[in-house]
């Protein structure tokens, strides 16, 4: 039989042949199609989408807050003026009583932006029981009340026209106030100062960080010279969510395998771009130092390519025939034969190393008004690691394995890792920051089991993109 005849035979027989379709196939097709339609195309876009949406929401929120500033700013300015008016009579009282209490100078040395002149603010201590002083004696600021500044120059008790903290211009002309001091003290909207005055304490204690937290400065920067800069005493809590594209690396060392084992193993395994994601909580330890912890999930991808030029395969052929030898004489014949084939076997598997780590990271941050750079370094405590895929065994044959399998060559715990990174943080709203962080991670321990004929160490570079949300915005900032 010629090739053409054979071709024609097979084509004629099979081209138009219709097989019997199992019942319910159409319903299965439609159900599978519906499932496929519902399934999202992928999850990779979720993080940037979340970042964009979150950024947009908070950008919008920030703009909303800005538009409200004039409304909320007015009462605040009034309260500041009330504070200042309450403070003005104090020197007069001291002078009238002939009390030569040395002027107390509160210098806000921490605010580096403003000039020294702007920072100098003089007060006189208030003697105990002097709150009921006659109102007519209050509020008069005479030339005698000019205080000597540390540089020897005379300085008026009148407050600087510009407070320097938020750019608000305040008019402090030193005129006597008409309001009674008791009313002013009662209505004083600066609780720590009111507490200090009510208890006959030195008013500068109101600005001391040693005061109870409820009595400390707990409003947005008031603009009073000498008031501690709210940025200088940070007690912020953040939660950070991030995703990262990783490029993993590994180093191999032959321990018990044959000399050709490692080259073969190395040639079959290729690291691929991987990813990691995580959630961290960070807390200010000092003004610039943060402690971060949470959990990291990382998946390291690897391609396993195996090729064997002399693979043998035995195919069992079972032929079942019904032979009719005559009327009523039917014979069922089963013929089993085996065909051995030799060829090339190519196997490609995508291996996956999955890790869950708990990070403990210290971050030192250099803060600017609209940008922050952080240096991060710390430890990763691996709590669980799994492996799924193929690896060569010592006989150079692919061995499918998982981390749970007894013959696994990869440990289920990778121990301690080191982490280092540089973060670039961009605030998008008072409570939300976006950050990008190039990082490097290395596991110190050999990740292969003791029974494995090799040692393997893992490391990775990557770039994290994430968002950072501030918990305690609007709460205390000191």
């Amino acid at each position: 039989m010629t090739d053409k005849m054979m071709n024609d035979l097979f084509r004629d027989k099979l081209e138009r042949h219709a097989s019997e379709v199992p019942t319910g196939s159409f319903e299965r097709v439609m159900a599978a199609r519906d499932r496929k339609k519902r399934r999202p195309a992928g999850y990779w876009y979720l993080l940037p989408a979340a970042l964009l949406i979150g950024g947009g929401i908070f950008w919008n929120a920030r703009h909303s807050v800005r538009t409200e500033h004039p409304a909320v700013g007015q009462p605040q300015a009034r309260s500041e003026e009330a504070i200042l008016n309450a403070l003005r009579p104090v020197p007069a009282i001291a002078q009238d009583d002939g009390n030569k209490i040395a002027a107390t100078e509160v210098t806000n040395a921490s605010n580096t932006k403003s000039s020294a002149t702007d920072k100098t603010f003089t007060l006189r201590s208030i003697p105990a029981g002097s709150h009921s002083t006659d109102a007519t004696k209050l509020g008069k600021l005479s030339a005698k009340d000019k205080m000597i500044r540390p540089d020897g120059k005379k300085n008026s008790m009148a407050l600087p026209a510009k407070n320097g903290a938020d750019g608000t211009t305040m008019n402090h002309d030193g005129d006597a106030t008409d309001a009674a001091p008791s009313t002013l003290l009662t209505n004083l909207s600066f609780p720590p100062l009111r507490t200090a005055l009510n208890h006959g304490m030195n008013p500068q204690l109101a600005f001391s960080p040693n005061m109870a937290s409820t009595q400390r400065f707990c409003i947005p920067p008031c603009g009073i010279p000498g008031c501690p800069d709210f940025r200088e005493y940070r007690n912020d809590w953040y939660i950070e969510a991030f995703g990262s594209a990783d490029m993993p690396f590994k180093s191999l060392m032959n321990t018990r395998g044959k000399s050709d084992f490692l080259p073969h193993k190395d040639s079959t395994e290729h690291m691929l771009v991987s990813y990691s994601a995580g959630l961290r909580v960070s807390k200010n330890l000092t003004n610039n130092l943060l402690l971060k912890t949470g959990f990291h999930y990382s998946q390291i991808n690897e391609r396993f390519d195996y090729k064997n030029e002399s693979e043998k395969k035995i195919v069992t052929v079972i032929t079942i025939r019904t032979v009719i030898r005559g009327p009523g004489d039917t014979l069922l014949v089963r013929d089993t034969s085996q065909v051995e084939t030799v060829g090339v076997r190519i196997k490609r598997t995508y291996n996956k190393y999955r890790n869950i780590d708990i990070p403990l990271i210290l971050s030192w941050e250099l803060r600017k008004p609209d940008f922050t750079i952080g240096l991060n370094g710390g430890l990763l405590f691996n709590i669980r690691s799994t492996f799924k895929g193929d690896m060569l065994d010592t006989t150079l044959v692919p061995m499918s394995q998982t981390a749970k399998a007894p013959a696994s060559q990869i440990r289920t715990n990778w121990g301690l890792g080191l982490y280092a990174g540089v973060s670039f943080v961009k605030p998008v709203s008072p409570v939300l920051d976006l950050f990008a962080e190039p990082w490097y991670r290395v596991y110190l321990k050999n990740v292969a089991t003791d029974d494995a004929p090799f040692q393997q160490k893992m490391s990775a570079w990557g770039l994290q993109l994430g968002i950072r949300y501030k918990f305690n915005n609007g709460g205390q900032r000191y």
Partner: protein, 179 residues
């Protein structure tokens, strides 16, 4: 209902039209799927995937060729894609069948469609793929080589070996029948 109406109904997600299209063509497409696979369940999976593609892309059908030909092509492509995902490929298979199996032409006439289909299914993966693509689906060796990522010579040799193996299997089959 004309073919155009049927297609239009399918594009509009008319369930009855979709079922009519399925009922009309599923049998022949299942034969294609069975030709490329070893077992029935695998073939049904390919058929399912092929019909999903057909329904999803029916709006791209331009009536430049018969609908059945277009659907067959999608089915073949789906089958090829499915087979290429399998981890084991036999490309340069030496089946060690060296004797020339020259059979009488008469013995082929006794073979039914299902018999021939089962013989094809018994071929090794590489043989089966090339044999189907070349002999039944009409692809050239050049096209097969490009589709499968192999050399053209490999495609030719696989086809020759597939033919020899099929002839041997047919002769064995005939012997059983005669006995």
């Amino acid at each position: 209902m004309t073919e155009r109406e049927l297609i239009k109904g399918c594009i509009n997600e008319d369930r009855s039209c979709q079922q009519a299209l399925f009922d009309t063509h599923a049998g022949r497409l299942l034969t294609i799927c069975r030709r490329y696979t070893e077992d029935q369940s695998e073939a049904e999976d390919i058929l399912q995937e092929a019909f999903i593609r057909i329904y999803d892309n029916l709006d791209q059908f331009r009536f430049e060729c018969p609908l059945e030909g277009w659907m067959r092509r999608i089915c073949v492509n789906t089958a090829i894609r499915h087979c290429s995902k399998k981890k084991v490929h036999f490309r340069e298979v030496d089946d060690r069948i060296t004797e020339s199996a020259d059979a009488e032409p008469g013995i082929y006439s006794h073979l039914g469609e299902e018999d021939i289909l089962k013989l094809v299914q018994q071929l090794p993966d590489g043989y089966r793929m090339v044999f189907n693509l070349y002999v039944i689906d009409g692809y050239s060796h050049d096209e097969i080589a490009r589709m499968m990522g192999i050399h053209e010579g490999t495609s030719r040799s696989q086809l020759a070996k597939a033919r020899r193996m099929l002839q041997k299997m047919i002769i064995e089959h005939h012997k059983v029948m005669v006995a």
